[in-house]
C-alpha cells in the first residue's frame, strides 16, 4: 500500500502576461496514509486542482513546484519519465469530471478502459481477451451494462460517463484514487448514486481516496478528513465532522453556513451570510392573497430531432404578491421552459392559459414589450448575462432604453443599483463585468431588472454558478427585495436548501409535471410524493460521512 504526502508544496505558474507569476499553491502540507479518505474543499482558484495534479506530475510545463510530493515515500520529482508513467494509473489513478470532456469523444469508452490495462498489465491482463474480460468486470462493478462498452461518450448520460471514469480509475487496481470534482454537473440523485458507489468500491478494496470539490457537503459525506483551501493556502484541516460542524476559521464557517440544513429552523427564511441585505421597511411585506401571475394547464412542446417532446405538461401555478415561490427539479424537468413560458419567451400549446394581474398574456410584440416591464427574469449565469464590453451603467440602463423610458435615467439606474445593494452605486457605474466578482455581477443583473420597476422577478438558478460564500448574500437580497418592495419572485432551482432558505411556497417538478406543491414548511418537513422524498434524501448533509455509513 502506498502513502501520498505533500510536504510544504508550493506551485507557481510562470506567466508571460503582465500579471507576472501566479502562485497557485502556497506551502501546503497534507498527508494521505494508505487506506484513508481525505477531502479538499475550496472555491474556484483555491489551487486544489493544481495540488492534486502535482501528485502524478501532470502539471503543465509552466508550473514550478517547490517542496516535496512523496508517493510511497518516493519523491515524484526524482522519477524518470518512464518511471512516472509506470506509477500513473498503476499506483494512483484519477477520476476526472467525466460529465465534461475527460473522455475522448471519438473513441469507444470500452477501448479507453482497455488502453489503461494495456499500459499496466501488471502481469495479469496480458492478452486482449483477458483485458476485455477485465473491462466487462469493471463495467459490472459500476453497474453498467456490458453493451455500454461500445458506446461513444456522447451517447452516455453524465452519470454514465462518470461511472465509466470510475471503472477506468479502478482498472489497474491502484492504491490511491484521486477524484476531481466527480459529481459536478450531476443532479442530486445521480450524485448520491455516484458518491456512494465510489465510496463503497474504495472501502471494499482499501484504496485511499483523495477527493476535491467545491462542495463541502459532498466531501463530508464521503471523506473522514477534510482540508479547506483558499487562495492556495491551507485554511483548516481536521476530521470531517469537526471541520463541518464546529469550524474554527471564519472562512470555513461561511462555507459551512452556505449549506442549509433542511429542517433546521435557524436557517428557515434566513440564509446565513456575513453580509445580509438590509430590510429598511418598518413593516416588511409578507405574502398576500393577491395573485399576480398565474398559469393554468400550461403545456409546452418542442420539435427535437426525435420528434415532438413535451417539456411542460399541464402545469398550474399561482404567484401571489410578495410571495417567493421556488420551483425545484432536476435538469431536464422542464423548469426553465416553464419560466420562459411565463415570460412569453416560449410558445405554449393551445389550451394553456397564462395571465398577469388577471389579464391574459399579450401576444403582439408591442404589448409583450410592455408586459416585460412588469415581469423580469434573472438568468442562470451572471457572467454570461452581461455583455463583457459594456459598463455597469450601460448594462442597467439597457432595459430603460429598450422600453423607451427616457426620464430620470441616471436616478433610476442609481436607485436600482442601490436596491440591489451594490453600494455606493456611483463607484461601480463605469466598471466592466470583468472587474467585478461573481456576486457583484449578479447584483448588476438584478439591478438591470429592478430598473424597470417590475412586479415579478423570475430567477433561473440565481446562485448555482456563484461560489458558496456569495450564495447567502444573494439569497438574502431576494428576501430583502420581497420585504422592502413587496416584489414577488419565482425562483427556479435544483436546490431544496434554497427553498428552505427563502421561499414561502415550493413546487417540485419532475418530467414537466408538478408532483408536489405547497407551503415550504409542510412540503419539506412532511413530503407526500415519493419523488420529493427521494430528492430530500439525496441532499448531502454536512458531516457524518453519511453516504459511507448509510450504505
Amino acid at each position: 500500500m502506498t502513502d501520498l504526502q505533500f510536504e510544504n508544496v508550493s506551485i507557481t505558474y510562470r506567466s508571460s502576461s503582465d500579471r507576472g507569476d501566479v502562485v497557485a499553491v502556497e506551502d501546503v502540507s497534507l498527508d494521505l496514509p494508505a487506506g484513508a479518505t481525505l477531502g479538499i474543499a475550496g472555491e474556484s482558484g483555491s489551487g486544489k486542482s493544481t495540488l492534486i495534479m502535482s501528485a502524478l506530475r501532470l502539471l503543465p510545463k509552466s508550473a514550478r513546484l517547490e517542496g516535496r510530493v512523496l508517493l510511497g515515500g518516493q519523491d515524484i520529482r526524482e522519477l524518470s519519465f518512464g518511471q512516472i508513467r509506470a506509477v500513473r494509473w498503476a499506483q494512483a489513478s484519477i477520476v476526472f469530471q467525466g460529465a465534461l470532456h475527460s473522455l475522448n469523444p471519438v473513441r469507444e469508452v470500452g477501448s479507453q478502459i482497455i488502453e489503461a490495462l494495456e499500459h499496466h498489465s501488471k502481469g495479469t491482463w496480458t492478452t486482449p481477451q483477458k483485458r476485455r474480460d477485465r473491462m466487462f468486470e469493471l463495467l459490472a462493478e459500476v453497474n453498467l451494462e456490458t453493451s455500454k462498452s461500445s458506446a461513444y461518450p456522447h451517447e452516455l448520460s453524465g452519470g454514465q460517463k462518470q461511472r465509466i471514469m470510475i471503472a477506468m480509475a479502478l482498472a489497474c487496481e491502484p492504491d490511491i484514487i484521486i477524484a476531481d470534482e466527480p459529481t459536478t454537473a450531476l443532479d442530486v440523485i445521480v450524485q448520491k448514486q455516484i458518491l456512494s458507489g465510489l465510496a463503497r468500491l474504495v472501502a471494499e478494496r482499501g484504496i485511499s481516496l483523495l477527493m476535491i470539490s467545491h462542495d463541502l457537503a459532498v466531501l463530508s459525506a464521503v471523506c473522514a478528513n477534510l482540508a479547506i483551501m483558499r487562495h492556495g493556502r491551507l485554511v483548516e484541516y481536521g476530521p470531517s465532522d469537526e471541520v463541518c460542524l464546529s469550524p474554527q476559521e471564519d472562512y470555513t464557517k461561511q462555507l459551512a453556513g452556505a449549506f442549509p440544513q433542511i429542517g433546521d429552523p435557524e436557517s428557515r427564511l434566513n440564509p446565513r451570510t456575513l453580509k445580509p441585505a438590509e430590510v429598511v421597511r418598518a413593516e416588511p411585506f409578507t405574502m398576500t392573497d393577491e395573485v399576480v401571475l398565474e398559469a393554468k394547464n400550461l403545456s409546452v412542446s418542442f420539435d427535437t430531432r426525435r420528434g415532438r417532446e413535451r417539456a411542460v405538461r399541464g402545469v398550474d401555478l399561482q404567484l401571489r404578491k410578495a410571495e417567493i415561490l421556488a420551483v425545484v427539479g432536476q435538469s431536464g424537468s422542464g423548469k426553465t421552459t416553464l419560466a420562459r413560458s411565463l415570460l412569453g419567451l416560449q410558445e405554449v400549446e393551445a389550451g394553456s392559459q397564462l395571465s398577469f394581474a388577471g389579464k391574459a398574456l399579450p401576444k403582439q410584440a408591442k404589448a409583450l414589450r410592455a408586459f416585460r416591464r412588469k415581469v423580469q427574469m434573472i438568468l442562470q449565469d451572471p457572467a454570461g448575462s452581461l455583455n463583457p464590453k459594456r459598463s455597469v451603467y450601460e448594462a442597467v440602463v439597457e432595459g430603460l432604453k429598450v422600453q423607451g423610458i427616457r426620464d430620470q435615467e441616471y436616478e433610476r439606474v442609481i436607485g436600482a443599483l442601490e436596491a440591489a445593494e451594490l453600494t455606493p452605486a456611483e463607484d461601480y457605474l463605469e466598471s466592466i463585468p470583468q472587474e467585478l466578482s461573481g456576486g457583484q455581477r449578479q447584483r448588476v443583473v438584478i439591478a438591470g431588472a429592478l430598473a424597470l420597476d417590475p412586479q415579478v422577478l423570475i430567477a433561473d438558478e440565481p446562485v448555482a454558478s456563484l461560489d458558496a460564500s456569495v450564495r447567502g448574500e444573494i439569497l438574502s437580497l431576494f428576501l430583502a427585495l420581497k420585504k422592502n418592495l413587496g416584489m414577488s419572485a419565482l425562483i427556479i432551482t435544483h436546490d431544496l436548501g434554497l427553498a428552505w432558505n427563502i421561499a414561502d411556497t415550493v413546487a417540485v417538478m419532475k418530467r414537466g409535471e408538478i408532483v408536489e406543491y405547497g407551503e415550504v414548511d409542510r412540503v419539506l418537513s412532511d413530503p407526500q410524493h415519493e419523488y420529493t422524498q427521494e430528492l430530500l434524501a439525496a441532499v448531502p448533509r454536512l458531516g457524518s460521512q453519511s453516504l459511507v455509513r448509510n450504505e
Binding site: Y13, V22, A383, G384
Partner: protein, 335 residues
C-alpha cells in the same frame, strides 16, 4: 489547472471574447465579493481603460517583430504607390518614348530591375502597378467585408425561412471557389479596374460571412442576448447594440488578412487577361511576361520582380493581420 468556474475566472489581459476555456486564467483569483472598489470618477475611468487597452495592444503589436516588419513594408509600398507620378512620370511608361532603351535589358546600374519587351523600365512598371494592385486589393476587400458582415450576421441571427435562405446563399458561395465566379463575372462585364473590384468583392465574401456567422452564433447563445430579449429588445437592438460590436474586431482583423487574398486574385484575373490592359498592375506585368514566354527565354527578371512585389505585399498584410488577430483573440497568442 484549476477548475475555474466561468463566473469567477479572472479574465485575460484583454477584455475580448472568446476565451471560454480561459487558458490564461488558471489558478488565480484573488478577488472575492469584497468591495475592491474602482475609483470615483467614472468618465476618467473609462478613458483610462481605453488608454490602457490601446497601450496594451500597441505593446503586443510591437513585440511581434514580423508584424512590425510587415507594417514597414506596407508603408513603403503605399508611399511609393501614392508618389508614383512624382518619382517616375507617366511618360516613362509610354512605349513610343522608350525607343532608345534596350529591350530585355537584365538588371544593371542603368536599369535597376531590368527592362521589358518594349524597353520599359520594370521598376517604373512595378511602381505604377502598385497603385492598381493595392487599390484593387483594398477596395475589393472593403466590398467583400461589408457583404460578408451583413450576410454573416443575418445568417447567424435570423431563424426560420429567411435565415434558411440566407444560409443557403452563404453555403453556395462557400462551396464554390471565388476565383471561378470572379472569372465568370469579369469575363462578361466591361474590362476595367472597377469590374475587377466588383468581381472580386462580389465573390470573395463567403469566408468572412462564415467567420461572422460562427461568431454571431456563439454570441447569440450568450445569456446577455437572452437578457436583452427579456428586457424587451427587438431585432434592431440585438443586431446593432450587441452582435455587430461583438463581430467588428474579428471583421477588422480579417480585413487585413483578406487584402492579401484580393491582391492575389487581382493578379490572377489580370494574368488570365481579364484585367484592364490599359492600366499597369502586377498581374498585367506577369501576363505580358507570359505572352513573350519570358520564363522559358531566360528573362528571369521579367517574371521575378512582379511576383516578388506581390509576395512582399501579401506577406506584409498577412503578418499585420495575424498580429491583429492575436490581439483580439488572446487564445491564439501562445501559438
Amino acid at each position: 489547472m484549476s477548475a475555474n468556474t466561468p463566473a469567477e475566472a479572472a479574465p485575460g489581459p484583454s477584455s475580448n471574447e472568446p476565451n471560454p476555456r480561459g487558458s490564461e486564467t488558471r489558478g488565480s483569483d484573488p478577488r472575492t465579493s469584497g468591495r475592491a472598489g474602482p475609483a470615483v470618477d467614472g468618465a476618467k475611468l473609462v478613458r483610462e481603460r481605453r488608454m490602457n487597452n490601446a497601450k496594451k495592444n500597441w505593446a503586443l503589436f510591437r513585440s511581434d517583430v514580423p508584424a512590425l516588419i510587415g507594417a514597414v513594408v506596407l508603408l513603403f509600398f503605399i508611399v511609393i504607390a501614392i508618389a508614383a507620378p512624382l518619382i517616375a512620370p507617366a511618360s516613362m511608361l509610354d512605349v513610343t518614348k522608350q525607343l532608345d532603351v534596350p529591350r530585355y535589358a537584365p538588371p544593371s546600374l542603368d536599369h535597376p530591375l531590368g527592362t521589358d519587351d518594349l524597353g520599359r523600365e520594370l521598376w517604373v512598371r512595378i511602381l505604377w502597378g502598385a497603385r492598381v494592385s493595392i487599390l484593387v486589393g483594398v477596395a475589393a476587400t472593403v466590398m467583400s467585408m461589408i457583404i460578408g458582415t451583413i450576410m454573416g450576421l443575418a445568417a447567424g441571427h435570423f431563424t426560420g425561412l429567411f435565415g434558411g435562405i440566407i444560409m443557403r446563399i452563404v453555403d453556395f458561395f462557400i462551396v464554390l471557389p471565388s476565383l471561378l465566379l470572379a472569372i465568370v463575372l469579369s469575363s462578361v462585364l466591361e474590362r476595367g479596374v472597377f469590374t475587377i473590384v466588383v468581381a472580386i468583392g462580389l465573390t470573395s465574401w463567403a469566408s468572412t460571412a462564415r467567420i461572422v456567422r460562427s461568431q454571431t452564433l456563439s454570441v447569440e447563445s450568450r445569456l446577455y442576448i437572452e437578457r436583452a430579449r427579456i428586457l424587451g429588445a427587438g431585432h434592431f437592438h440585438i443586431l446593432f447594440r450587441h452582435l455587430l460590436p461583438a463581430v467588428m474586431p474579428l471583421v477588422l482583423a480579417n480585413t487585413t488578412l483578406t487584402v492579401g487574398g484580393a491582391i492575389i486574385a487581382e493578379s490572377t484575373l489580370s494574368f488570365l487577361g481579364l484585367g484592364d490592359t490599359s492600366k499597369e498592375s502586377w498581374g498585367t506585368i506577369l501576363k505580358n511576361s507570359m505572352d513573350v514566354s519570358a520564363a522559358t527565354s531566360g528573362y528571369w527578371w521579367y517574371v521575378l520582380t512582379p511576383g516578388v512585389a506581390i509576395l512582399l505585399v501579401v506577406l506584409a498584410f498577412t503578418m499585420v493581420g495575424r498580429a491583429f488577430e492575436a490581439i483580439i483573440n488572446p487564445a491564439l497568442r501562445s501559438r
